[in-house]
């Protein structure tokens, strides 16, 4: 029996200057996975935050099992049976898995925490999730997947009726995603309504029953997943013709273009093994491979974040020693890191300050850019990258994920780099912004700059790269031509470690 568990009608909320939600309706059935889709800033998070009591809506009603509710904070929402698992795992990394699952509601015995029961129940819960882990381990030492499962276990255990998963898969690898889907199906069987927010469209088709699309705070429509195809979905999300996105053309470096970067056998023992490759002027080199295959570690060695103990890095034909990122920046390199929240944005500083930061760093603090110069630079990149912000003085932390990513890109473009290293620049951002970043990379190559592009999504690697380097088990597994088929790369990624085979 498909009955409605949650219904939101005529939701409206306005923030200074924007109407974040404009008469949005949303219905969730019992035992379904319902994908909530839209570009960044479409209003997905705002809608969820109204539901969990973070924001107060200006108008609209929420019915939970036909009863009107108006939660004023997350705890209240949770008591009512609405649990949320956020994109960034927000647990305490210094507590154990069990403590995290039961924090705030530890089983008590004679006025003290009953550790035995707690650990036993935590083990059972993780077992239900198909995770066989030692729950007394400190959470911070566990993989992201285990952390994610712990937060789901925690969310589900508080007799949840509605489970909201906000971008749960953005830091999981393929196997872990499949595992999560099994857990989701399991929870579905138990009668939970699951709201699934993601940017991965393939996953939407793989797991969801129905989907709701938002655009600019308005409802575009509600669809049965089986009755819509990918093209229609993307078109409805971005509101323009999808073909623009797929008409990207690869960069065409000249045959005799000079080498910008030559990497010869660099490595850090027990971390990354001998890596060799080179990048030509105007070339886009893609790095494929699973999370933890050594892609990021390689990029960090190139940028002076970590220091290779052997091998040589040659930039523009000159051998260089990179002691700190500043040295790499002075060699005209730039690096957009994978975790933009931790390593990218300076949340409390303005868009202007974030954009000018790297340029200023190369000049030193005693030679400040004039305020006017800074404003021109910021305005220029806000325009070029079409960063949506009311003005350059807005706090970066208040922008949406895609726009934050563009601000970091702007910071690097402002330094006029010859070689741009982008580590998962399109993760967690919407289709529209993704296409813009891909287009931008290719434009840079055309201007004679070079790009190293790291991504987990093979189709975008294949679409953009001139050459593809496949990483596996902390070393380079293969170097392929840009026209390679996806299946071939997958085969290399999945194959056994050669050394093990030969041993």
């Amino acid at each position: 029996m498909n009955d409605i568990i949650l219904e939101m009608k005529g939701m409206e909320i306005a923030f200074p200057g924007v109407k974040a939600l404009d008469k949005v309706d949303f219905t969730l059935l019992k035992g379904e996975v319902h994908a909530l889709l839209g570009e960044n800033g479409a209003g997905k998070s705002t809608l969820i935050k109204c539901l969990t009591g973070v924001h107060r809506m200006d108008a609209g009603t929420i019915l939970l099992e036909a009863k009107p509710i108006r939660p004023s904070n997350t705890q209240e929402a949770q008591r009512l049976g609405i649990s949320t698992v956020y994109q960034e795992v927000n647990l305490c990394p210094n507590l154990t898995v069990a403590e995290n699952i039961f924090i705030g509601r530890q089983p008590m015995k004679r006025g003290r925490i009953d550790w035995k029961t707690m650990n036993k129940r935590a083990s059972e819960l993780m077992g239900l999730m198909g995770m066989d882990v030692d729950v007394t381990r400190t959470l911070g030492t566990c993989s992201i997947a285990i952390q994610q499962m712990a937060s789901i276990a925690r969310a589900v255990d508080v007799n949840a009726k509605v489970l909201i998963l906000d971008e749960p898969t953005s830091s999981l690898d393929e196997n872990e995603v499949q595992h999560l889907f099994r857990v989701m199906n399991d929870l579905k069987q138990r009668g939970l309504g699951i709201v699934f927010i993601t940017h991965f469209l393939d996953q939407v088709f793989a797991i969801s029953d129905r989907l709701t699309v938002l655009r600019n705070g308005k409802l575009v429509g509600q669809f049965e997943t089986s009755k819509i195809n990918k093209l229609e979905l993307v078109t409805s999300m971005i509101g323009k013709d999808i073909n623009v996105i797929y008409s990207l053309k690869k960069a065409q470096p000249k045959e005799d273009a000079p080498q910008v970067l030559e990497v010869d056998n660099i490595g850090i023992p027990a971390k990354v093994e001998d890596i060799s490759f080179d990048v030509k002027k105007g070339e886009l080199v893609g790095f494929a491979g699973l999370l933890g295959s050594g892609r990021t570690e390689t990029a960090e060695m190139l940028f002076g974040v970590t220091h290779p103990t052997k091998g040589e890095i040659t930039v523009h034909g000159k051998r260089v020693q990179l002691k700190a990122p500043l040295d790499a920046i002075l060699q005209k390199m730039a690096f957009c890191p994978e975790d933009r929240k931790r390593d990218g944005i300076i949340g409390d500083l303005s868009v202007r300050e974030n954009i000018t930061l790297a340029v200023q760093a190369t000049r030193g603090f005693l030679h400040p850019m004039k305020r006017k110069e800074q404003e021109e630079l910021a305005d220029k990149y806000i325009r070029i990258l079409s960063i949506s912000t009311p003005d350059a003085e807005k706090r970066v932390g208040e922008l949406s994920g895609g726009n934050q990513q563009k601000v970091i890109l702007a910071r690097w473009l402002a330094t006029q780099p010859d070689l741009l290293i982008l580590d998962e620049p399109t993760r967690g951002i919407d289709v529209g912004a993704k296409a813009e970043i891909q287009r931008l990379m290719l434009e840079m190559c055309e201007e004679g700059k070079s790009v190293i592009f790291i991504s987990s999504e093979l189709d975008e690697i294949i679409r953009c790269s001139n050459r593809i380097i496949v990483m596996r088990d902390m070393s380079k597994a293969a170097e392929l031509d840009g026209d390679t088929q996806q299946a071939e790369i997958l085969k290399i990624i999945a194959s056994e470690d050669e050394k093990e085979v030969s041993a």
Partner: protein
Amino acid sequence: MKRKLAGNAFLKSKLFWAIVAEFLILLVGFILRPDFLSIQLRTLADGTRVLYGTPIDIFNRSAEITLIAMGMTLVIALGGTDISVGALVAVAGAIALKFLRWDVLIYNTPGDYTVKPYFYAIAVPLIVCALMGLFNGSLIAKLKIQPIIATLILMVGGRGIAQIITNGKQFTTQYSPFKFIGNGSILGIPFPIIITLVVVVAVMVFVRKTSFGMFVESVGINPSASRLSGLKSGTIIMIVYTLTGFLSGISGLIYSSRISSNDSNNAGLGYEMDAILAVVIGGTSMTGGKFSLFGTVVGSLIIRTITTLVMYFGVVSEAIMAFKALIIAVVIVLQSEPVRNAIAKRRERRHLNIGGEMHA
């Protein structure tokens, strides 16, 4: 519209409520004793004319904390703390007096023989304190020791060093150029106020006219991202702690000049907490990031105003601390986020009502 919003943001800021608190405290003083706020020009015995009155006294006596708190603001903006500042005040005094009274150590008969090393009595304490600051900064930047632990070393050790410098003795000096630092005046304005003004302006200019302030905020908000953007956070940390040590040195010279003596046990006692409090009342968060030097000046003035008020009304000395704590508690509650938001909301509502009436 935009201006109204900006005004509202200011109303919600901690700095605004710090200023309100300062005026309220002054108002209470004024109501209880109207002469609390009076300023006169008095002629001293030696013919110099000096501004006199409680407000002047507040500015004058807040100098020691304001100076240190300038550095502390940057330290806290970096996400750290420096609890060694009070001990450095004692060190500065000890070194100054050691130079001023080297006669005591050389000549057997007592007397004020020579004050030739006046330059050293000023320069050496400042250099030593700056080096001690650099020591703190190096522990934090190079050895990655937590700031509170790193500075604990000199907090405890500093007073011991001061004792060793003077062999545990307390010297006094009547050398007037030295006494001028804490007790003199130029054009009727007490010299400590002038020093403070110069230093505050200098620090503000250094921090805001160069990019140093932005770098400090950036490292304080997100050290990892700052490093990847090419900032040398180690250098920034060492500069900030060195500056704080240097400013503690100036503070120590003013203190020892006021009492014409060194006092390794009591000089600068508790200054670290007053300085931290001044920074926090001024609106800079202990978690680091955005900071306000002007707010810190206001914070330091508040602390001094409270002390002055309590002493002015003759609260028994045993109760002074308790009274001070009480008033500070009120100030901090007034500044807390829920209270600020509640007041801002009420004002918003009133504005809306007024707007509505005007349309009607």
